[in-house]
Subunit: 342 residues, 4 copies
């Protein structure tokens, strides 16, 4: 059994981790911390967990996290970097679902996240936890930086095109749409039901924190810098990301075959038949990315459609997938979930 701790279990990624881990046959939930809600039964805050999770939230200093085999950080940005070293020193492996270890260039990270980094050396060590790119490094990693939700969808959609060097790398466009749970479980007027329902808008067109993360990932695949315009939008649904990706083809290719081959062995990436339009609900609750590739009117613009559940393949599910890899378990353990449709 893997002894697991969760730091910051009161947000959406936290409750989603609990949903997945509660049924994981190799996991023993050791502790879930929350300063604000210590003492509260987890299942009181999240009645969906009644009968599945018996723990109470614990004060961080009473959680004895150093006794864990693995600690997930489901915290706001800037927390994991404060606590990771002590855990690693104690032999605990760490998966951070926030952004602290995602960006290798610490100066870039500090600019976009507006704080000084507490442990730049660990950034260098951390493995970016996108299994479809980095499975081998994840296997050995002590510290995994779980990718952001947008970056997961956008990278999985662009990777085959960039690996094959088929498209112009300077003019990539990612028009992405997210459900509101992507904003987290925090009290802000802008995400109230009456503000977000029956409404659609772009945001952060000037620059979103996931932009440098995506650029870094794509540059690695393309083996050179990429030019990317990234426009995120808020759409009135609870879960789901839909990335619509545009790139200019530089030469002809069988795009459908390209995508199918790239992901032939990836259990959590589903390349749909030619002509498909994946919908977000087709992955609701499941650790899966569905992708379709189009070339409208046979022109030189390729359009990739990629959907994920932002809380699963875009967060907690991918974290569990990484855990499975790190501990030598079958990668789909606890992740064989049929999406909830309708």
């Amino acid at each position: 059994m893997i002894k697991v701790g969760i730091v910051g279990g009161t947000g959406y990624t936290g409750v989603e981790l609990l949903r997945l881990l509660a049924l994981h046959p190799q996991v023993e939930l050791h502790a879930i911390t929350s300063r604000a809600d210590a003492g509260t039964p987890v299942s009181q805050m999240f009645p969906s967990l009644r009968g599945y999770v018996d723990l109470c939230f614990t004060q961080p200093d009473e959680a004895h996290l150093s006794q864990c085999d693995l600690v997930f950080f489901a915290t706001p940005n800037g927390i994991a970097m404060q606590q990771a070293r002590a855990l690693l020193d104690a032999g605990v492996r760490v998966i951070d679902l926030a952004a602290d270890f995602r960006i290798k260039d610490v100066a870039v990270w500090e600019k976009w996240y507006g704080m000084e980094h507490a442990c730049p050396d660990l950034v260098a060590e951390a493995v970016y936890g996108l299994p479809e790119l980095n499975r081998e490094q994840i296997r050995q990693a002590r510290l995994v930086a779980n990718p952001g939700c947008y970056p997961t969808a956008v990278q999985l959609g662009f990777i085959p095109l960039l690996e094959a060097a088929l498209v112009e790398r300077s003019s990539l466009i990612a028009d992405a749409k997210s459900g509101v749970s992507g904003a987290g479980r925090k009290a802000e007027v802008g995400f109230l039901f009456p503000e977000s329902a029956d409404n659609f808008k772009a945001y952060a067109v000037q620059g979103h924190r996931h932009l440098p993360e995506i650029r870094q990932g794509l540059a690695r695949v393309a083996q050179q810098e990429v030019g990317l315009t990234f426009v995120p939008h808020l759409t009135p649904m609870i879960r789901g990301i839909h990335a619509t990706l545009y790139a200019r083809l530089e030469r002809d290719a069988d795009l459908q075959a390209l995508f199918e081959q790239r992901y032939a062995n990836e259990v959590f990436v589903d390349v749909m038949p030619a002509g498909s339009h994946p919908e977000t609900r087709s992955v609701r609750g499941a650790n899966r990315c569905r992708i379709a590739v189009h070339r409208p009117q046979g022109g030189d613009t390729v359009v990739v459609l990629a959907v994920i559940d932002n809380l699963v393949k875009g967060a907690a599910g991918q974290a569990v997938q990484n855990m499975n890899i790190m501990f030598g378990l079958p990668e789909a353990t606890a992740l064989a979930i049929v999406p909830l449709l309708p």
Copy 2:
């Protein structure tokens, strides 16, 4: 392995059955029939099932259903009664998710459903598949009438009060609210997104088909006729039923203890702590009914709040629960699902 057939797999109860059965360790899916969509891969109509269900829809006469151990009818009302006898005669057990076998008084059934019944004798044999009432009979049943969604929530909420003869039986009120999937997956203007979203309404106040079903169930528990006002409402959500039940207390009692004791051994009924307000999302995707009992201002009106997922405990999940009972499996097999929240 239980060899299972599904008649009418293109509706919401059909796809929900498939979601649950796809991961059932003791079930082998033999055939899914649909006249209109024969030949279509199930996973083409429901991409959520890609990777989990490989079958195509089959013409009924090519499905060889008589080779099954169990056939589920996920059809409109009036279909199962045409086909059940032949299957039963062939030794196949049958669970009907529609209403054909729910009401013992055939004349009442014919009045409310507007058609002649094709096999009144089988109505007499059929067992009403509410495990919390009829577990033993279900175990032996050849033919199970799976309860309606509203009737499940309303009966589970009223049963403890009526069994204990605590309330006036002539003036029960059930104010029930359903998500739109309760109307089924059929093309009707009234259930279009722009008609149902951001809107709330009552319907069928003059009389809903679930009224006689509920009355029959409650009368059996009360051991006398009951007077029931039942007002269903349509609420802009996909899944979920919330029943708010009102009854007049005839004598004092510890209501919380009453409910807790009644359901102490029921794994799929969760009596919440005193003062709770169960929400439909706390059972989303799961085969569970959560109940809270209130006595506002200490008056003589008891208020019971009961929530289910109409497609799970209100339909497909309860059908799988019945199957498990019928075939001697642990009742929760394939039903240990943590609700999807948010």
Copy 3:
């Protein structure tokens, strides 16, 4: 022209007042106050008002509200009672959209609202602003207590039955459902989109602040105390209240005629044809209550269905209606709005 001030214009009742007043031909908007957002253009916070409202939010002490003919309080409970006396002394008439002046029994008010009342004598003077009951007193009032949203729908539905003394007064039931805007525009986790969407729940079953307000209103109409069970629910829509009301008939009557006659001269109450099910969207954005009355299966339980837009007839629209009455204008001035459907 009526010189109008608004105190607390950043909530939903505030922006709704602005929507209605912006096109009112007899109103000159003098000032809108907000401590937190002073200096911000109103149309920056609410882009829907671009081109219609040019004002900025003002500090209360710079708003010169004593120069107004009328001041609306669209503030949290407890604010208007602090400021009303000075305005009244300066000859300004006041409409409070909060609860400060709604309940005549100050001790009851203080118990439910958890604070000491600042001016009990003004409570005595204040007129309860339900025009369908109190039109004449409103005409002369200096201080109007605009009714709550639930109380408006529930009272309009029960009034004909109680005035005619047709029903048992001790056992009234109001099962009410509200859109999320009823909770106001304040940052609380419970009203985030991912918490409220695709979800339905009751709340405050033990006792909601609108209970004493409704009881007071119904008792006045019934000319005796009434027994009322009031269960509010949260439904995933932006606007709208649906009240489902239950009462036990004590004698026979033509209910349809009763309701039609009671509201024959009320432009903002629409008694629908027998058998109707009013839906909330049929009044979206409009100052109207639609009502249908049913007697299911001809029994002795009468069911009344009443819908309003909680922000219009349940708040800002009713306030404008009251203003029109107070200033001798045609009651429908600026309120001739066709509901937005779909």
Copy 4:
């Protein structure tokens, strides 16, 4: 008074026309036709119109449309072209809200709409009813082709860039998102609430009928052919279109000033301050397009965000705007509507 007829009043553009025309001071509603619903009071189908529209639906041949001054066609594609000539010959002016007269190249129209055109000569005469482009021709027109919803948003967003010849014309991208009412009020499974809610998807990536319409409009403005990739998406809201437009700048310019100047005199186009993100609800129910222009990270990709209410500026509101122009009325008559927010 303008005597107005509406052909096909049972869809969403029909009821929206009625909402707007009911309060139009210069319009007399003469007849609304519907074969299927002749005899039904309009306000029975659309209770929101109770008290505003007293007409019943009429059989087309009993509607005496030739007595009208203006007839709106709110019909499916292919109807107006059958009936327009007779009306024009009778001196009636016609506005078609469907696509029959939008595309000048009849062969292109016939290919995309899959039918033979009934009156190609009238196509030549018809004026494309985008007032911001064609105000003067509309003034004189007998026959106006009201633009599609997507084409309205996309053209208004691209026009300033193309008129100024600032961007590469061969690589325009329009990533557009529509609320579900854009699909019309017709019974189709795909637009049921449980199919469309909490879900997001692209559709018709291979080619949508609005593509040739947009291309034609942009080519006219650009005075040469344009290359356009157009990807429409379905988003779970009732009303609203959000167009996110991408173009490659060929030279530098003050984009904010360019847009502000282009639309300085357009009452129904609102260029928002630099850095804005217009949201669809900011135009809900109103005849307005709000636009913001961005240049992310100062690169050579310009991003234009344009929102409209698809049923108003994208259909019925624009039709009324065209009517006002055709009949010499102030353009905003009956269109001074404050958007409904929240």
